[in-house]
C-alpha cells in the first residue's frame, strides 16, 4: 500500500476529530470518524454564540459540517471506540457492538464532558428552581427564552465561576480555562437581551488568557456594566418566591455578602469524557492526575501517545478553547502523516 491510501480511524466526531479528519482527507488519506452521538460537532453544536467575538456557533458547526463533506471521510454516528490495540504492523480498533476495525493510525479525539453540577451539592442544581448551568443558559439563548422557571423576566442574574474546577472536594484540581471568558460572554449577552437585568459574576480569578479575552472583559464592564465580585459562592438556597439566595464573601471588601438572584448560572468546568476514560483504561493509555490523557511530553509532545500510531487531539488531553483545539487537531494530523509515511 502507498502512503496515499492508508486508513486512519478517528475516535470522536467533535471539533478536534473533524478537523484532524479534514487535514488527513485533504492529503488523500482514507479516514473513518467514529462518533458516539447521532450528530457531528460535539459540544459546539449546542452553543449559541462563541467568544471572543460572539459570532454565531452555527458558523463553526457549518464549517465542521463542510469539512466532513469529503469523499475520503466516512462519518459513522452512534458508534463509540472502546479499545485500541497494536496488531501486527497496524492497529485494531474495537467499537461498540462488538466489531473490530483495522487502521494504520488512530487519532483519539474523544473530547470532554461538562462537570455534572449536581455534584456541587451546596448549589442545589437539580433541587432548587432557577439554578442552571452555563450550558442550560446557552440553550436558553438558542431558544431566545431568557425566563425563570415560573416564567418571569429576571431582574438579577448571578454567574458562579469555577464550578467543578480548582476544587479538591470534587476531585478536580485543574482549571477548566474557558469558563471565565464564557461567563463574560454570557454576561454580556444577558445585558444585551435584558438591559434592565443586573448581572453579577462571582469569580476567584479572571482567566482571560486568549486573544481579545481581556478586551472582552473590559468591554463587559465599560459598555455593559457587568458587576464583578471577587468571591466564590459558598452556598445557594431556594427561597419561597423561587429566587436563589446565595452566600459569598466579597473578598475585596473583606465582608460576607448575602444576595438573592432570579437565576444562578453555574459555570461548569471540563472533565475527561467518560467514554474517553473507558477507552484509555481499556487500551492502557496513561492519564494525568487530572484524569485527562497524558501525552509523552508537556511541551513538544502534546499529541503523542506511547502507543505507536496513536495520536491525541483536542480536549481529551486538557481543557482548550475551539481555536486551540483546531490547531492541536491539525498538529495531530501532521504527526499521523509523518508516521504513516515512515512506515
Amino acid at each position: 500500500m502507498t502512503v496515499m491510501t492508508k486508513h486512519v480511524i478517528i475516535a470522536g466526531g467533535g471539533v478536534a476529530g473533524i478537523e484532524a479528519a479534514g487535514v488527513l482527507a485533504d492529503m488523500g488519506h482514507t479516514v473513518s470518524i467514529l462518533e458516539k452521538e447521532g450528530n457531528p460537532g460535539g459540544h459546539v453544536s449546542k452553543w449559541h454564540a462563541l467568544f471572543p467575538d460572539r459570532r454565531p456557533a452555527g458558523e463553526v458547526t457549518g464549517y465542521l459540517g463542510k469539512r466532513i463533506e469529503n469523499e475520503n471521510i466516512r462519518f459513522i454516528a452512534g458508534t463509540s471506540v472502546e479499545k485500541i490495540e497494536r496488531h501486527g504492523g497496524g492497529l485494531t480498533v474495537g467499537i461498540s457492538g462488538g466489531t473490530t476495525l483495522n487502521a494504520d493510525a488512530v487519532i483519539v479525539a474523544t473530547g470532554f464532558d461538562l462537570f455534572d453540577a449536581r455534584r456541587k451539592e451546596e448549589y442545589g442544581y437539580g433541587i432548587y428552581d432557577n439554578v442552571i448551568t452555563s450550558a442550560d443558559l446557552e440553550q436558553m439563548f438558542n431558544d431566545d427564552r431568557l425566563l425563570t422557571s415560573d416564567g418571569r423576566v429576571p431582574d438579577r442574574i448571578g454567574f458562579v465561576h469555577c464550578v467543578g474546577s480548582r476544587d479538591e472536594k470534587v476531585c478536580n484540581e485543574h482549571c477548566s480555562k474557558v469558563c471565565c471568558v464564557t461567563a463574560v460572554k454570557q454576561a454580556i449577552e444577558v445585558r444585551e437581551k435584558l438591559p434592565g437585568c443586573e448581572v453579577f459574576c462571582f469569580y476567584m480569578d479572571m482567566r482571560m488568557f486568549g486573544p481579545f479575552y481581556e478586551e472582552l472583559y473590559r468591554e463587559s464592564q465599560e459598555k455593559y456594566n457587568v458587576n464583578y465580585i471577587r468571591g466564590k459562592v459558598s452556598e445557594a438556597s431556594g427561597t419561597m418566591k423561587k429566587r436563589v439566595a446565595l452566600k459569598v464573601e466579597d473578598t475585596l471588601a473583606g465582608r460576607p455578602l448575602k444576595m438573592e438572584v432570579d437565576l444562578l448560572v453555574l459555570m461548569t468546568g471540563m472533565e475527561m469524557s467518560k467514554s474517553g476514560a473507558k477507552l484509555a483504561e481499556a487500551s492502557g493509555f496513561a492519564t494525568g492526575i487530572n484524569r485527562f490523557l497524558e501525552s509523552t511530553d508537556n511541551h513538544y509532545g502534546s499529541n503523542m501517545s506511547k502507543m505507536k500510531g496513536v495520536f491525541y487531539a483536542g480536549t481529551c488531553t486538557a481543557p482548550m478553547n475551539i481555536t486551540d483545539t483546531i490547531s492541536h487537531a491539525r498538529a495531530a494530523a501532521v504527526e499521523a502523516v509523518k508516521y504513516l509515511s515512515s512506515k
Binding site: 449536581r118 437539580g126 438556597s237 439566595a245
Partner: protein, 353 residues
Amino acid sequence: MQLEGKKRIWAEYQKDIPDDHFFYVRSCIRQTFFAGSEQVFLKIMRDDLGKDVMEDPRHTTCTGIGYHGDVVPFETISTVVARHFALATEAGYKNIAISCVTSFGIYTEILETWKHFPDLLAKTRDNLFKATGREFDLPESIAHASDIIYKFRDELARKAKYQLYDITTGKPLKVVEHIGCHYAKMFPKHGIGGAEFPHVLVGMIESWGGEVIDYPERRHCCGFGFRQYLIQANRGYSISASRKKFESMEPYKPDMIVANCPGCAMFMDRWQYTIKEIDDVTYGGYKTGIPTLTYEEMAGLVMGYDPWEMGLQFHNVQALPLLRKMGIKADPDKRFLAKDGSRLPEPANLINS
C-alpha cells in the same frame, strides 16, 4: 424544590448502621437539659425494638465542650475517648451509640486522625495505659443515636400510635429539621445524606407522616459557638444565629422544630424565650412560638409515650399546641409535679402555656 435531586444525594450518602448491641455514651447537655430524651431513646431501643443497649456507669463526659472551648488539648480528649473504647471493649461491645452530636463529631475526628496518623493512635494507647492501665480495641462502628432511630424508623412507624399529622387541618405537620453542625459538616461521608441535604431527621419525619420544610437558613449553625455561649459577654453571637434561622423559617409556618443535637434543641427553645423578652417577638403560626423538640421527644410522641414523663414541659415554648394538633391528650395540670405527685407552682412566662 425537586425531590428527585435530593433523593439522588440521599442514596449516595447511606451509612452502614449496625443492627444491635450498642454501647451507649451519654451527653452532658442532653442529660442536663433533656434527661427524659436519653431515657426515651433507651426505652424505644430496648422495649419497642428489643435491642441490646449497654451503658457502663463509669463512662464520663467526652470533654468535647472543653475541647471546643479550647481548654482541653487534642491528646487529652483522644485519651478520654479511648477510655470509653476500653470500657466498650471490656464489655464486649463493638458498636458505639453516641447521644451527643459534638461527641459524635469528636469520635469521628479522632478515628479519622488515627487512620491518617497511626503514630498518634500508638501514643494514645500508651497514654491511656499509663494513666489508667486500660487497653482498647477500635470500635467497629460509631453512630449517633439519631442514626439508629433513623435505621428503625419504618419499624417504629408500624408500631406508632400517633402520626406527625395535624388532625385539625387534615394535613401533615410542617416540620423544620435542624442538624447539629458537628454531625456531618466535618466529615460529610459519615452523616446520613451528607452535609448539604442530611437525611437522618428527614427520614424520620417523613416515615412518621410529617412534611419537611426547607428554608434558606436551614444549614446555618444554631449559634452555640461553645465559648460564644459559655461566656456571658459573647451570647449575642449565639442568639443572633438562632434568630436568623427563626426569621428565615417563619414564612413557611412550621408547626415544630426538631433537632438531633441537644445543644441546638436547647438553644432554639431558649432563644425564642429570650427574643420574646427582649423584643416582644414570637414566631410560629399564631405567634405562639415554635415548639422545639429533641428527636427522641418526637419519636416518643409518635410512639404514644406520656409527654410529661418525657420532659416536654421543661421547654420554654410549651408543646401544648403541637399536642392538640396531633390529637395527643395530655393534661396540662399534670406537667409540674413533685416526686410525691403533688403539684408544683407552674413557671410564669412560658410561651404557649
